[in-house]
Every structure is written in C-alpha cells, then in structure tokens.
Symmetry: C2
Subunit: 383 residues, 2 copies
C-alpha cells in the first residue's frame, strides 16, 4: 500500500492510515489521503496491471489487504446510438448501474468497508435514503459487519427494501433529510460505531477514483475530452477528478478531461456558486425533483466540487424536470438502458453543453450511468 497519511487541508490535522476517521475530527472538513507517489511511480507500471474490477488497480487504492469484494467495477461501456445525435461529439455511456448493488456507490463502499475491517471495526452506520445505504448494507453483509442505515421517516421504495434484505437495521428519523444526518452524528459520537459516511469519508471517494482509471485505460490512456456527471453530494465528481489527477501525476495520462457537473434546477447549489464565482456552495432553497440522488441543498464537498470543475475547465449547469424525464425515456426507449432518474440528469445536460459550444465536433464524451431503474419502479409507473 502506498498510502502515507490522512490530512485536513483546512486546519492541518494529520493522522496515519491506521486511524479510523470520517471527516476531520478537529474542524469537520472532508479529509484527503496522501500517497507516496514517488515510490508508486517507480514501482507501479500501467502495462503490468492485471486482474479485473477494482482489484486491477490494487496498488492505487488505500488498502493493505485484498478488498472485500462483490465484483464491483470493470463495468461495460457502450457507444450511444441515439442521444449522441444531439451532439457534435461521440458519446460513451459507462454502465455503472450494473455494479453488484445496482449503483456506482459500490466502488466507494468496497473501500470504506474493507478499510473498516482492516481497522477492526465491527459496527458501521450511514445516513442515506438511496443507493449509498443499499450499498453499505450489502457490503456490510458480505464483510460480517453490523450495519445501521438512518433514513428520513418519509423514505420508501426499492432501496429501503434492499437495505432491509441485507439484514441491516433501518432507523427512521422524523423530520427533513438533514435530521437523519444530525441524528447519526449524535448517536455514533463516542461509540464503537464507525460513521461510514459516503458524503464525507475520504475512503469512499478513493473508491470512486477507479472510475477515472477504468475510463482512462478503456481509451488506452488517452482519456476523453469530457466527462459529464450528476452532482449531489459530490463524491462522484470529486472522486473522478482525484483519479485523473493520480494518473496525470504518475505520467500515465497527459491530460485531464473537462469535468462537467449537472444538477436539477430544483436544487442547484453548485450551479449557483459556479455562476456567481463563489468559492464554495451556500445553502440553497430547494424544490422537489424526481432525481433524488442530486437533491442535496448544501453539499459537504461544495468547495472541492467547484475546484474540480474549474480546474479542469468544466462547467456546471442545471436541467429542468421535463428535460430529465425526456432523457430517462430516451435512455430506455432508444438506448435500451433502464435507469433511475438521477442517472438521466447528465444526459439531459448534454444538449446545452453542445449548443453552448462546450462540446465540439469530434470530441469524445463519457457519461457514467449511475443507478438502475429497478431501484425506483414507482417512478416509472407514471410514464
């Protein structure tokens, strides 16, 4: 393992990789992992990669032991046959919904759970009414960890059934979504329960990095010009950025793709900050959206998200509910991909990116298709 230390860029906190952490214990900011890149550069060679899934990149991830795997990663890429017609470029869809619990979150969870086991943790918890909760419950079952998922009392649907099926405990918290976060922080403080927050844990976003590795290797280390993702809590966009940064630092790629973040108009704190040149997001009034995965009104990683978009020359933009619905239908009826609404958000933004000249003729665009439509059957009954 090449992980050296865990640091807080905000306050300077520092600890070794053997210490269980979620956010910075001193200031609450997201932590970062620092690797020994000099040694990694000498010892790890891209033409010596072997194996499948995330284990293919075992030297680039922060684990001592083989991951407690459910076969995540190594997802297929298909060329768009229909949606790409609106684009000047070539559109590649990376099918993240075929991960073992049905979403891209498995890439982050496998690292979080494997690390928890390395630390000797026996009990984990997260607040999520969505894919992250189902993913943590699944990997905890595999790892033999006790797992509790905190959800708003109003939560329903396939993901909740999935969480319970894995044998996780479901804790329903009355009030708005934020109350579930407050409650889990209160409940886990000073206990032996590890708060395996997908929004905050640096280990979670480290798992997401493997998506950037696979995209790069899939294009023979000449990555696409653009990657377009839905933005909610930001682990996806920040994780991908971090992965491309690793590869650039190792000299495996010459250039980092432009990373574009797409939000729903009903809840678009990142877009507002981007347009107003703020360096971090501010709490935003939000309305309802069918894209529940991006319904986060003040993401913990707001600053990192904006940095990633700006550093790569990306843009942030928002899409209407009707655009999202159109894209969901087009994905299913034209591309044969049955996805949950959040997955359609970046695709709904593509036409704007093309019309604005951000995506130019002949350029290659990759969109991770994040979650399975089977998770939200109820949403589909209205179509």
């Amino acid at each position: 393992m090449y992980l050296k230390e865990v640091v807080c860029d905000s306050c300077g906190f520092l600890c070794d990789p053997g210490t269980p952490v979620t956010a910075c214990p001193d200031c609450g900011s997201p932590l970062k992992l620092r690797y020994d890149f000099d040694r990694m550069e000498r010892e790890v060679k891209k033409d010596e990669l072997s194996g499948t899934g995330i284990s293919r990149y075992r030297d680039l991830i922060p684990l001592d032991e083989p991951p407690i795997s459910l076969g995540e990663g190594g997802t297929p890429v298909v060329l768009s046959s229909s949606i790409s017609k609106d684009l000047s470029g070539e559109l590649y869809l990376k099918l993240e919904f075929v991960n073992p619990t049905g979403s891209f979150k498995d890439r982050g969870t496998v690292i979080t759970v494997s690390k928890a086991r390395e630390w000797g943790i026996e009990v984990v918890a997260d607040d999520s009414s969505g894919n992250a909760g189902a993913s943590l419950a699944g990997y905890s079952a595999r790892a033999g960890l006790d797992c509790t998922i905190y959800v708003p009392a109003s939560a329903s649907g396939g993901k909740i059934v999935q969480v319970k099926s894995y044998g996780a405990e479901l804790k329903e918290v009355p009030g708005p979504r934020e109350r579930a976060t407050e409650k889990i922080v209160e409940d886990t403080a000073g206990t032996n329960t590890y708060y395996a927050s997908h929004n905050l844990s640096p280990y979670f976003s480290e798992g997401i990095k493997t998506l950037a590795y696979e995209i790069s290797e899939g294009f023979e280390w000449n990555p696409p010009e653009h990657v377009v993702v839905p933005v909610g809590g930001g682990a996806l966009l920040v994780g991908i950025h971090s992965g491309f940064q690793d590869l650039a630092r190792l000299g495996w790629i010459d250039r980092i793709p432009r990373l574009h973040g797409i939000q729903a108009e009903a809840c678009d704190p990142v877009v507002r900050a981007y347009e107003n040149s703020w360096d971090r997001t501010r709490p935003t009034e939000s309305g309802p959206t069918i894209a529940e995965g991006v319904h986060i009104s003040n993401p913990d990683r707001g600053k990192e998200i904006l940095e990633a978009i700006r550093a790569t020359g990306g843009v942030a933009l928002s899409v209407s509910e009707s655009q999202v619905k159109r894209s969901i239908q087009e994905l299913a009826r034209k591309e044969g991909l049955f996805v949950e609404p959040t997955s359609a958000v970046p695709l709904a933004g593509l036409k704007q990116l093309s019309d604005q000249g951000v995506i130019e003729s002949g350029e290659r665009v990759v969109v991770p298709v994040t979650g399975s439509g089977l998770k939200d059957i109820e949403d589909w009954k209205g179509f």
Copy 2:
C-alpha cells in the same frame, strides 16, 4: 462466422443460417446450430482471445456482424463466504444478475436480436412474464426493433414496468400462462413478426453458451467439477452444456463439469423424469412457487435437459419453498447478494448435493446467480 447450417435432430429439417427460424417449422422441435468445427479448430486459438463480454468469443457465436450490445457478459465471480460452509467443496458464485437488464437472459437475447437484425427483421415478439421479456424489450429498444411481449393478464411487478419502460408493447392474455404462448403462436404465424422465443430459439441458447466459455476461461481452461443451475425452460442448462461441448471439441478443455439441475418441489417435471429414467419430461401438475423463473410444467427442451444432466453425470433434484426462502435470505444477509427467488433455487439444492456425496471434498462448484432482487421487490416485503 463458423455457423454452417441449422438442423432438426428430430425430423431432419435443415436450413441455412440466413433463414429466420424459431422452432423446427416441420415438427416444432427445438433446432440446433452446426458449426464448421474443423475450420474453427484451425483458425481460432484460446490464447488469442481479446475484448470483453461476449465479444471476446465472437468467433464461437453465430453472428456475421458485431453484436448489438448493451455490455452483457464478463460478469464477476465471487467466492462464497457463508453458504460454502455447508459444503465440502469450494463455492464460486457467478453474478449473472449484473447483466444490463438484470439477468442472465441478456446473453441469449443479444444473439437473438442481433441475428434478427442481420435477417432484416423489424418486429419481434416473445411470451414471458419475467426476465426474458424485459431483456428482449431492452435489446429491441437498442436495436430499433418493434417489440411486443405477451404476458398472462395476471402478471405484475417490476419486470412488467421494465418491459413498458423500454417502449415495448405489452399484450395481456387472459387465462393461464400457456394461453400467452398459444396466442403469440397464432398471432405471429404468417406475419412479418419474428417469434423470438427464449424457450425455443436456438440462437437464444447459443448466447447462453458464453457462460460456459467464461467459467472455463476464468478457471484457466480447467473448469470446475460441478455447475449447479435452476431449471425452468432449460435454456440455461442446455446452453451451458452446449458451450462446454464446444470447448471440449476444440480441445480447449479436457473435461465437462457435472451439470446439476435444481427445481422447486412445486413444479419439478425434470426431477420426476430423471428419477423415473424417462427420456423426456411429461406434463406435470404444479403448485405455486415463489421461484417463478422455474415454474414451467412441461419444458420444450425437456429431452435436451435430461440428456445434458445424464451425459455429464449430473443429478436433478428439487427443493422446498422453505429451503428457497432460507437461501434467499442467506445470500442477502451473509453473502451481500440481493437476488430474486429463482436465483436461490440452486443454492438451496447444494446441501443435498453435498449430503448425498455428489459434491466431494476439495471440488469446485460454480453457481450462476441468475436475476436481480430488485426485479421482485414485492416478494421481499414479506421477509
């Protein structure tokens, strides 16, 4: 392409690969595909395979053009951590539910639909209230084919929603399941609609063969001693058998695994025929089972199923509803795999196989885990 001709073993019917066929047009039996194995053996080398998913085996499948793919195949294998404790051997789970529409059927459908396009077909139909219907609807959307799925009027659940989401037409047929089959045969006879029957089409089972190829290659061409599968219509078991036969004929493997077929006690025509040494299945009275994928009381491929089991030294046995339920729960709670009831059927049979001494100490067992639990959320609400 190495496909030479399409033949009926029962009546001697023969046609070339350019002719659209489902079952034998003369006698109604399932058809078989004949390849030029001599040329294949000279030209195709196992150490020159390249690419991912089913395209890796493009020289062994019956297509002229690249498949119209949704990224099927190339599914992960995980070692069982819990269920294997009941076994003397090593248990490997091949996660077929991570295929793009959520089940192993995608391997068959990609060939059926790609072949239909090669033939110039524009309209396809199948009778299925389950995974095969959802799969055909998805691939038809991708291929730009009009698709109609015939279902019993009583059908419900996630799979029906999925079929409609892909834009396929749903035709509800009053009466028992068999009426949907009779109706589709009546409706498509003499029309330009191709009856893309997953139970009958030889192209469908040819796609399933890729599962045997992947299993063999995954074990470096030294395949496991046992493969245990759920048996309903038989395309899975017959397809896998045919795939291993190909590899043995090519000299890529020295031995074909023992293929065991597991059914639900409520509907076990294959087990009855096996136990009574009949050479084909007979229509069986059947009761209700939660494993709807194996609820077929007189499979079209009954004879082939029995031949495959007997030829490989396999056994057929049935499991109770309570055993299936226990296995579903164990898969989710101990292995972290959220699957539909049919997927748990072979796992429910493992203990019997072990207790009977069929599986011996140190032997390797592969079980394809066929369908996603997200397809049948309603089933889970009772757990």
